[in-house]
Amino acid sequence: MEGKSKKISSSVILLASLAIGFVIWTIISLVPSIGSIIVGPAKVFEALISEYENGNLAKNISISLWRVFSGFSIGLITAIPVAFLMGWYTLVRQFVEPWIQFFRTIPPIALIPLVIVALGVGESAKTTVIFVASFLVMVVTIYQGVKGVDPVLINAARVLGASDRDIFFDVVVPASVPYILVGVRLGLGSALTTLVAAELTGASSGLGNMIMEASLYFRMDVVMLGIILIGVIGFILDKAVLYLEKRITSWQEMREQ
């Protein structure tokens, strides 16, 4: 009973929070000096309809999503084996870790000019920057997971007769799955951030480019629309990974929220 009433009240609070947010947004947009920049919900909604109808919206969203997923997927596919090799072989770790730590301190956006010179403004440039950004975040997170596997579990497997190979596939890999999912979440966030930066600087399509172009014509309704869409996409992706996490790692001990 108590749990149910709690659930209802939390969704009520969410709705109230959204409503108040919209009210504040509307009020701000009604202030004459601000209203020309921060346009109100109604105008943004109109922009949504018109952008949808002229077909630009679907094109921009799909091209942005494609860039995120291609860069991110290559990042994930390479981060997993590198992280496992680092966690499993001390030599690999000692060899690779300083480079990862070094590149991690460089914001991937700083690489954009270099990448554009090297690869042009085409798709490969954007994919490369997003790949680098998401790879670095994911490799560090997954490596922490591999390294942090409880030695007691490894011993428990060894005394049951497990070989190194068995321990890797039956203990280290499953124990690292939660960290892989955390890495995926962080990697997607980082991929999205980098995507927008890359599209703002050099692209002829995509949501970042849509924002940039609209600002040149002072179409603040479209700018706002672009910003909100990026937020919504990020939010949906994050929730999707959280859902996956719940499904895949339901075995994990969780603190009650």
Binding site: R158, V159, G161, D170, W251
Partner: protein, 263 residues
């Protein structure tokens, strides 16, 4: 005990183990000699830091002695083997595996096919009374149930020796008493050599045919005492005079070791 006519299962001679710590060399075990007989139930008691876990790890093959030798059936223990099952204090269940998957893991490693190992594992899940929880994940179990699963997992691979490292140390008194009785019953049925570490003297005297008292700094064997209390034993055994006499005797000796450490 006369039944096991002193056939030696595990033989430890001149065993030394030291670690290089921050404060120089730490001697965990010094000149340990011990014979564990086939099918014997032997308990090791002693203050913390007496090296009992180190000794168990060496017998399990998880650690190597600095010098000396540990043998099982006459051949040196060089690494872990399914012939020596281990039950850890922290349960060490694989959290991503269900109860039955945990229990059958050792059988899977042996290459047993899926159907047979499931059947085999189920026998042991039933043995520890967790049939209804076969498909539950460890997080859904209480501490006592987790340790039952760990015991079933160790038994399932049919090891010749069971090494137990304070398996009931983290459990409440009632659960512990229940598991002690279960363990005694199981040992009575499937006689296996049991090497059982505990800091609880009552537990040691209740379970063991022989109790080994260890001292600390450096860890070494002080005395080995035969417990001539007839089996089957259960919690009521604790009311018997002979049990009480042994318990008092061993307690006073262990207490002396505790005082040594406290100094």
């Amino acid at each position: 005990m006369s039944a096991n006519e002193q056939q030696i299962k595990i033989r430890v001679r001149g065993l030394n183990k030291s670690f290089n710590g921050r404060n120089g060399e730490l001697v965990a075990l010094k000149d340990v000699d011990l014979d564990v007989y086939t099918n014997e139930f032997i308990c090791i008691v002693g203050p913390s830091g007496c090296g009992k876990t180190t000794l168990l790890n060496i017998l399990a093959g998880l650690e190597k002695p600095t010098s000396g030798v540990a043998e099982m059936d006459g051949s040196e223990i060089k690494g872990p083997s399914a012939e020596r099952g281990v039950v850890f204090q922290q349960y060490a269940l694989f959290p991503w595996k269900t109860v039955i998957q945990n229990v059958e893991f050792g059988l899977k490693l042996k290459g047993m096919d899926k159907e047979r190992r499931r059947q085999e594992a189920m026998k042991y899940v039933e043995m520890v009374g967790l049939k209804d929880f076969a498909d539950a994940y460890p997080k859904e179990l209480s501490g006592g149930m987790k340790q039952r699963v760990a015991i079933a997992r160790a038994y399932a691979v049919n090891p010749e020796v069971l090494l137990m490292d304070e398996p009931f140390g983290a459990l409440d008194a009632q659960t512990r008493a229940q598991l002690q009785e279960d363990l005694l019953k199981t040992w009575d049925k499937e006689k296996k050599t049991c090497f059982f570490i505990t800091h609880d003297v009552d537990e040691a005297v209740l379970l063991a045919q022989r109790v080994v008292i260890m001292g600390a700094r450096p860890g070494r064997i002080r005395e080995i005492i035969n417990i001539d209390v007839p089996y089957p034993r259960n919690q009521e055994t604790k009311l018997q005079e002979d049990y009480i006499a042994y318990r008092n005797l061993i307690w006073s000796k262990v207490y002396k070791e505790y005082l040594e450490v406290a100094k």
